[in-house]
């Protein structure tokens, strides 16, 4: 017997556009309010905990640099994903596309380890984007030609990509001096993004590097593409009203290819920024799951380029705050996952209420008595 709740959800004919934009802000606010309560329940002074979690991590230049370093790949991947998500093309395999970006870039870095040059890094960036796009093209081909489900294919390919990385770092690409441990040689300087403190003294001691520029350029480009170009318009129509898109003669296959290739290339670029950035080599555990976190970032950012920037910064801050809470307040690691979970739950909850209204259901026996 189906569960009968005393209320039901009725779709709103015209969801408020304003509320749709306010929903993420409301979700953040609710998360913070509940968060204060959790801090208190853990026996912490909530305001001190709030400061440690959300303000201290970015209270100096090093903290800001770490925030950007963490937010940048998240933002880059989420921008690529958002383009597909707008067209209802659900690429869940950005993590795997990111691995391939890392692999392609590492291939060049290792091959030209001894005889690089200023051309090496740009070549790696290009190779990484191509690698990610190629990996995504498998999903695109299967979806466009055989109508397979891109969610499953892209997700499964992530595990294949993971094994590919492991094969390489335990096998042909292993550093001969690694004592059989799974990593490649450390890249030469030609194969690394220069750290910005080389040019600006006030950044002394920070890790932020030139790869930030890729994200900074990608944001307005993604906005122009999504909101101002005809292809971007086609993608949005395909997502909102597939029948209308077909009627207008927009090719669905073309949409699938565009969405997945861009998503793959963006994830591949993010892979390059990691291996040629703070890590400086390829090993078997180099990413903390950016490709999956970016899905949340894209949703939280409302599939809007500038929203994604804010969402990526917030996600990065939750990671840094979780570490700071462990170090300064001896709170458990789970606290940052609790915050991420709350945020997503409140966002989805707000979305439901923006798109639906709650109506009281007549009690079942009321009908009988009437």
């Amino acid at each position: 017997m189906p569960l009968r709740l005393p209320f039901r959800l009725i779709p709103r004919a015209q969801p408020s556009q304003r509320m749709l934009l306010i929903a993420p802000l409301l979700a953040v606010t609710l998360t913070l309010v509940v968060g204060l309560g959790i801090f208190a329940a853990l026996g912490q002074n909530p305001l001190v905990a709030f400061r440690v979690f959300f303000i201290d991590p970015v209270s100096d230049i090093n903290g800001v640099s770490e925030l950007l370093l963490k937010a940048s790949p998240l933002c880059l991947i989420a921008l690529g994903l958002a383009i597909g998500f707008r067209a209802n093309i659900w690429n869940i395999g950005a993590e795997g596309q990111m691995y391939l970006g890392g692999i392609f870039a590492t291939g060049l870095a290792i091959h030209f380890h001894e005889n690089g040059g200023p051309w090496l890094l740009p070549a790696m960036i290009l190779a990484g984007a191509v690698g990610g796009a190629l990996w995504a093209s498998i999903t695109a081909f299967l979806r466009a030609q055989l109508r397979t489900n891109e969610i499953l294919v892209s997700l499964m390919l992530t595990y294949v990509a993971d094994l590919l990385v492991k094969y390489l770092v335990y096998g042909p690409w292993q550093d001969p001096q690694s004592n059989n441990f799974p990593f490649t040689v450390s890249f030469s300087d030609d194969a690394l993004f220069p750290v910005l403190m080389n040019w600006w003294d006030w950044l002394e001691g920070t890790r932020i590097n030139l790869s930030l520029l890729i994200t900074v350029v990608a944001v307005p480009l993604a906005w122009l593409f999504m909101d101002k170009s005809f292809v971007g318009f086609q993608l949005s129509v395909a997502g909102l009203a597939p029948a209308a898109a077909r009627y207008a003669g927009f090719s669905e296959k073309r949409m699938v290819w565009i969405a997945l290739l861009i998503g793959g290339a963006a994830a591949g670029l993010a892979g390059v920024t990691e291996v040629a950035g703070p890590i400086g080599q390829l090993n078997d555990r180099w990413t903390p799951g950016y490709g999956f976190t970016a899905i949340i970032v894209a949703a939280l950012g409302r599939l809007n380029a500038f929203g994604i920037v804010l969402a990526a910064l917030l996600m990065a801050l939750l990671y840094l705050g979780g570490e700071a809470a462990q170090i300064s307040l001896q709170l458990p690691k789970a606290i940052s996952q609790v915050f991420q979970g709350l945020l997503l739950m409140f966002l989805l909850g707000c979305d439901v209420l923006v798109n639906y209204r709650v109506a009281r259901r007549m009690p079942a026996n009321a009908l009988v008595n009437a």
């Binding site: 004592n179 059989n180 799974p182 555990r285």
Partner: protein, 360 residues
Amino acid sequence: MKTWKHAAASLAGAAALLAAPLISHAAEPLKMAWVYVGPVGDGGWTYAHDLGRKAAMKALGDKISTTIVESVPEGADSERVIRDLAAKGNKIIFTTSFGYMEPTLKVAKAFPKVDFYHATGFKSDKNVTIYNSRMYEPAYLAGIIAGHVSKKGILGFVASFPIPEVVRNINAYTMGARSVNPKITTKVVWVNTWYDPGKERQAAEALIGQGADVLLQNTDSSAVLQTAQDKGVNAFGWDSDMTAYAPKAHLGSAIEIWGGYYTKVAEAAIAGKPLKTTVWGGMKDGMNDLVSISPNIPAAAKAVVAEKAAAIKSGKVQVFTGPIKGSDGSIKLAAGKTLTDKEIDSVNYYVEGVEGQLPK
């Protein structure tokens, strides 16, 4: 309700506290920090390190203060955490997983006055010291018990990453078993993670499905042992004493004992003579052991294990003593010789009796 009253009270005084610095300066205890790869509650590797930290705290009281950061990913994030701990005034930092090696070395260069101790790696520096535990010794003893207990002559091993640290434990376990019953073989399943109870359980089920009836694991949780109990076979605890997780299946636990080492490092630093030599301790040094051996194992097994344990503790017996044959039949070590530490630390082959190929 009490917590909420407490919350209200603390909210009232919060404004003042917001302005106050977080760290108070009373006496000056030695600030030590630990970076953990898993959660403290993993019941295995990280739990053992945390027991070690607590032992040091108990031994030294208010002479030290400690901080931990758990479940730190072994990628770009670990460098930030380690740097942060150094910047926050910790004088001694233990980074307790292999993947922290390069980040530890990078941060150490920027903080020459902080001493870093890295577990299980192989690169050291002026202020980076390596420490590790010869877990292959208790693994060998576990193998002896497995050799006596196994009815089908098939052992199972749930392995994390194909690195020397793990490969040599598989070898030691197999050699121990074959010293009792030369027909025994070991099947290995790689899970490519240190801590993932779900994957560890699947691997254990696969091994049991292939006929393995005594399991050992080089992963961090108690999932393999619990699976063994569910399926009616035997297994061992690893890193920490896991008797309580599956008392019926449990044959013994190969445990790490870090407390003595952590206390020594702290004492040396307080005395102004920091410990900077590589420590690779075994049963002889009290850094590991096979404990809580099940009373149900055959008397013969008890006797042999007790004898071998005593011989290893006194230094009379080395686990990796020739003749050692590789799984491909080639001679890896002639009779009467022993592997050097360098050879043990870069081993890249299975010994005879281990099935399959080492992943390359």
